[in-house]
């Protein structure tokens, strides 16, 4: 389905990444594969380093760190935003919402619309859509959109299928009304029949965590993971992206009346470098227009990778100038979504370490 949003824009982006860095080479001895094959995987997929939280660090810790940084540096005033949206799949608790925990830890005002959304790789776009909708209300002047996940805590270190690419991070995006008569085009599709392609089987109420769900098992692919761990059908995800994303973006550009050449950057969810380069090949987009370096340097932090790709690659350009960008997120659900907007003039666009 297609959407248009009028007179809304992103005015700042901050990424918060754990200072704790791990490397593929030091971790590959945990994998049950010959080193030569793991090194081949590293080369093909573009794995190198990733940022993981220390034990015990939660989503609200990263979010509070980022908001405090903005308050302290005068980049955001604590009373000037009226909604706080958190998109995460790794909340601090089942209940209450982690957005309420963040509100409480920072002693934010009571006139604040706090909302948790359970979404992943398309979560930056889903969060933006919610922010745009809230901004239709006069009482909502600015929205703080937080994307955050600490999925390394739910991934088996002995699972070469997932662990090397996972990263933890948070981003804080400030969304507000645009003085100019701007239009943002977006589209979205979902297919819940494929919900098992990316899943943490145990830990909810369908299959509560027990000592048994914590046992590592080999399902026949030499990887050891428990039912408490994230599991991903890598080749199914690959096929999903190559089949569904190019027509999604074509449709978006057609409905916006824009050509591929009119797009300065295609900022996609950073699944891994391999997947993005194949996507670029298929869409005939030069690699320079589609950054694919986030997993190599930081890991795949689910809904945070699009804001990270922006802060890591385009910060200088977007603080002073503007660019026409096409965003695309795809993954858990399955969910796939794209969005075309003019991005720039950002009052902040940077990355900080936690702690």
């Amino acid at each position: 389905m297609n959407f248009t949003f009028h007179r809304k824009h992103i005015s700042g982006i901050l990424a918060v990444i754990p200072a704790h860095e791990r490397s593929f080479v030091e971790e590959m001895k945990n994998f049950n594969f010959p080193e030569s094959r793991s090194l081949k995987l590293k080369e093909v997929m573009g794995y190198d380093k990733h940022r993981l939280v220390e034990p015990g660090v939660c989503v609200s810790d990263l979010a509070v760190c980022g908001l405090e940084h903005l308050f302290k540096n005068g980049l955001l005033r604590r009373e000037e935003f009226d909604a706080l949206i958190l998109v995460t799949q790794s909340p601090d608790h089942f209940m209450p919402p982690t957005s309420s925990i963040i509100q409480g830890r920072l002693n934010l005002k009571h006139d604040l619309f706090c909302l948790d959304i359970n979404q992943g790789c398309a979560g930056f776009l889903i969060g933006l859509m919610q922010a745009f909708l809230l901004l239709e209300q006069e009482s909502i002047r600015k929205v703080v959109l937080i994307n955050a996940d600490v999925l390394s805590r739910k991934t088996s270190p002995k699972d070469r299928n997932s662990y090397p690419l996972i990263g933890d991070a948070a981003s804080i995006t400030l969304v507000e009304r645009d003085a100019e008569d701007s239009v943002i085009h977006a589209n979205l599709k979902m297919d819940g029949t494929r919900h098992e392609v990316l899943m943490i089987p145990a830990g909810g109420l369908r299959l509560p965590s027990t000592p048994e769900t914590a046992l590592l098992e080999d399902v026949g692919d030499n990887n050891l993971r428990a039912k408490d761990h994230l599991r991903m059908d890598g080749s199914a995800v690959f096929n999903f992206v190559q089949v569904e994303v190019p027509p999604l973006i074509e449709d978006l550009l057609a409905s916006a009346g824009a050509s591929m050449d009119a797009v300065d950057y295609f900022i996609c969810h950073q699944a891994n470098r391999f997947m993005l380069q194949k996507l670029a090949d298929k869409m005939k987009v030069p690699y320079a227009k589609m950054p694919s370096n986030v997993v190599t340097h930081f890991g795949n932090s689910s809904g945070v990778t699009i804001p990270m790709a922006i802060t890591f690659n385009l910060a200088d350009r977007l603080r002073t100038g503007h660019a026409r960008v096409c965003l695309a997120g795809f993954g858990v659900g399955l969910t796939w979504s794209s969005m075309l907007m003019r991005l720039g003039g950002l009052s902040f666009c940077e990355m900080i370490d936690y702690p």
């Binding site: 890598g234 080749s235 690959f238 096929n239 391999f274 194949k278």
Partner: protein, 73 residues
């Protein structure tokens, strides 16, 4: 067919392979090779196979036949 043989040999890091060779008989046939073959078939033949399709494929000849049957479908 020769093109497919060469591309699969490259993925499996073999000098050459025969159309009667069983894909699963190669030491390098693992999840990475499976993904590489899926990506290669998508890019070069416009065919999207799933890992399960490859699991049930025996020789390179069988794979060739599978690709031909899916082409343009």
């Amino acid at each position: 067919m020769n093109e497919l043989l060469n591309k699969i040999a490259e993925i499996l890091e073999e000098k050459s392979i025969a159309e009667t060779d069983d894909l699963k008989s190669f030491a390098q046939w693992d999840s990475l090779s499976v993904l590489s073959v899926i990506a290669m078939l998508d890019a070069n033949y416009g065919v999207n196979l799933r890992a399960a399709d490859l699991e049930s494929t025996g020789t390179v000849k069988d794979l060739w036949n599978l690709v031909q049957s899916k082409k343009g479908s």
